[in-house]
Amino acid sequence: MLMRQPFVMRLARLHSGFGWAVLLLLTALALVVVPLLNQFVTPDSALYIPDWLVTLTGRFLCLALVALALDLIWGYTGILSLGHGAFFALGGYVMGMHLTHNRMETGTIPNFIQFLGRDDWPWFWVPFQSFWFTAVMVFLVPGALALVFGFFAFRSRVRGVYFAIITQALTFASMLFFYRTETGFGGNTGLTDFRELLGFSVREADTRLVLFMLSAVAVMLSYLLCRYIVTSKLGRVLVAIRDAESRVRFTGYNPLRYKLFVWTVSAMLCGLAGALYVPQTGVINPGEMAPANSIEMAVWVALGGRGTLVGALVGAGTVNGLKTWITAAYPDLWLFVLGGLFIAVTLFLPKGLMGLRQQMAGRSKQ
């Protein structure tokens, strides 16, 4: 039957030939060129990619994944979340708990748990000894929180600014929860001092290189997943919800399900990003859940251009690149630059960097 087109065909149509070529090129860059330049070129060569740069890029890739997830819910569905930092950090904590298990000798427990007056692992720590359990929880923990939170928020038809504010409250509340020593997640120090993952030392440059490559693969696959969603009819329903939600209802679609679906997918992608980020930074603490962090994530997407996916990736890369440079060179200036950037984008680039090309093309025509 015509309808039953093979899945491969549908996948092939996600992009034009040119789009696929770029994607392939970028993947080859991350999986072949970078490792070669890092491993086989001598440090004095101009082409050499130092270890720190590999790790830095690996972390940027994780943040870009968050931007991608945020664009799915904000750019396409029109729901601004200022709480994605919570989902990101939850994924990070899940991975951090596994890494904490890995650094302890059998039979010993970390100090912050001893301080609670215990001499064994609390029940919710025990299963994270298993890597596979952890790998599943990386998705399920942020996903479950998003599902429950989203269900109540969307069912009560909380929208727009009100939704954005309660997501800020969500991340703030999570932060307070993790800050408390009594909850058993290491208080304000968080989880750190990680040693190994699946038997490989997370401090070794080689492991870091592999983590970088895994992050690149994660971004690539997530991008394709998002692209699959937004190019399907489901994606058009999302855009329709953004434009005229009540009309969507009167057409017979239940917006609650659609919103809940992308919202949960988005949170799960953040969880994955957090889990890949933590072994590359070596620490996870409640600071990641600070409301300002989530706002910054929205700036990435706004700068790159909403509703384009690629824009989110570009925006995350640009802002984080700037941040790394400025916080090193002029540490006091960063917040001003960030604020200025946000204002500039709002005033002059409503469609972000992705819209810039269109804008220029439009101007040259006039």
Partner: protein, 277 residues
């Protein structure tokens, strides 16, 4: 919930193809015993003001009914009640014998076969004209179906047919936002046709249309009657005269008079309300 739903959708994948059967009213719809729509004693107050006041109205299966009345008579509010947008304070509203419209959410009412065109045309502005029609097309509204959705040849033809009918073939791939007011009206009517509902509630369809366009609309609506039931709200009396069989006059939230256009026009109370008409 979404995952559970997805799983459930997975279990009934044969439904993906069920939209091929065209006129597919909800199995729960039962019109064997007369009217398709029962509205009885419906009252709705907004801050003490009765927009609907003990309103009673029946629409027969296949009927074309015109609803007229001065501004603020409650015509739009009635449609809001029937489509689940507004819940009345008291009264009953049934679609067929079995579907209690006052208990169902908007999307379920729409799925069970009530389509609506709004007074202010609402289309999905960022989607193309074609995509607007595609979204409205009668099919399962589940997540999984939407994710795996592909148009087959027959459906493609159906959309082309409707595009031609609403004279938007050339604009098929333009975003709906750039259409003129009249074209948006047409697109919304086209979307209604794609939904293939049993009952169409059409609020002021010819506002902003030229004489020729509104003639075409009249033709379209009359051709729908029989297979579908149609309720049209309109201020344009010429238009009403050209399509009407039965006219109901709404005034201050209840039905003032009901009958053929001639009967209505000779009714003393109606003339009083429409002083100057």
């Amino acid at each position: 919930m979404s995952m559970m739903d997805t799983l459930r959708e997975l279990g009934k994948r044969e439904e993906v193809f069920s939209f091929l059967q065209h006129a597919a009213p909800s199995p729960a719809l039962d019109t064997r015993h007369g009217p398709i729509l029962y509205v009885e004693g419906v009252t709705k107050s907004f801050d003490g003001f009765r927009a609907l006041d003990d309103l009673t109205l029946y629409i027969d299966d296949g009927e074309l009914r015109c609803l007229i009345g001065p501004n603020g008579a409650g015509k739009t509010t009635l449609m809001d009640v029937l489509t689940g947008k507004t819940r009345p304070d008291t009264g009953q509203a049934w679609f067929g014998q079995r579907l209690n419209l006052l208990e169902l959410p908007e999307h379920v009412i729409a799925q069970s076969g009530i389509g609506r065109k709004f007074q202010k045309p609402t289309v999905f502005e960022q989607l193309t004209v074609f995509e607007n029609l595609e979204l409205a097309m009668h099919a399962s509204r589940g997540l999984w179906t939407s994710l795996r959705w592909r148009l087959d040849g027959e459906q493609q033809d159906r959309i082309d047919e409707v595009l031609a009918l609403i004279s938007l073939t050339e604009q098929a791939h333009a975003p709906a936002g750039v259409l003129s007011h009249g074209q948006k009206q047409w697109l919304e009517i086209g979307s209604l046709l794609m939904q293939n509902p049993r009952l169409l509630l059409v609020d002021e369809p010819v506002a902003g249309m030229t004489g020729q366009e509104s003639e075409k609309t009249a033709e379209l609506l009359t051709s729908l009657a029989g297979k579908h039931s149609v309720v049209v709200v309109e201020h344009d009396m010429d238009f009403v005269r050209s399509i009407a069989r039965t006219v109901s006059v709404l005034h201050q939230g209840s039905v003032l008079a009901e009958g053929s256009m001639d009967e209505i026009q000779s009714d003393a109370r109606v003339r009083e309300v429409y002083l100057g008409e």
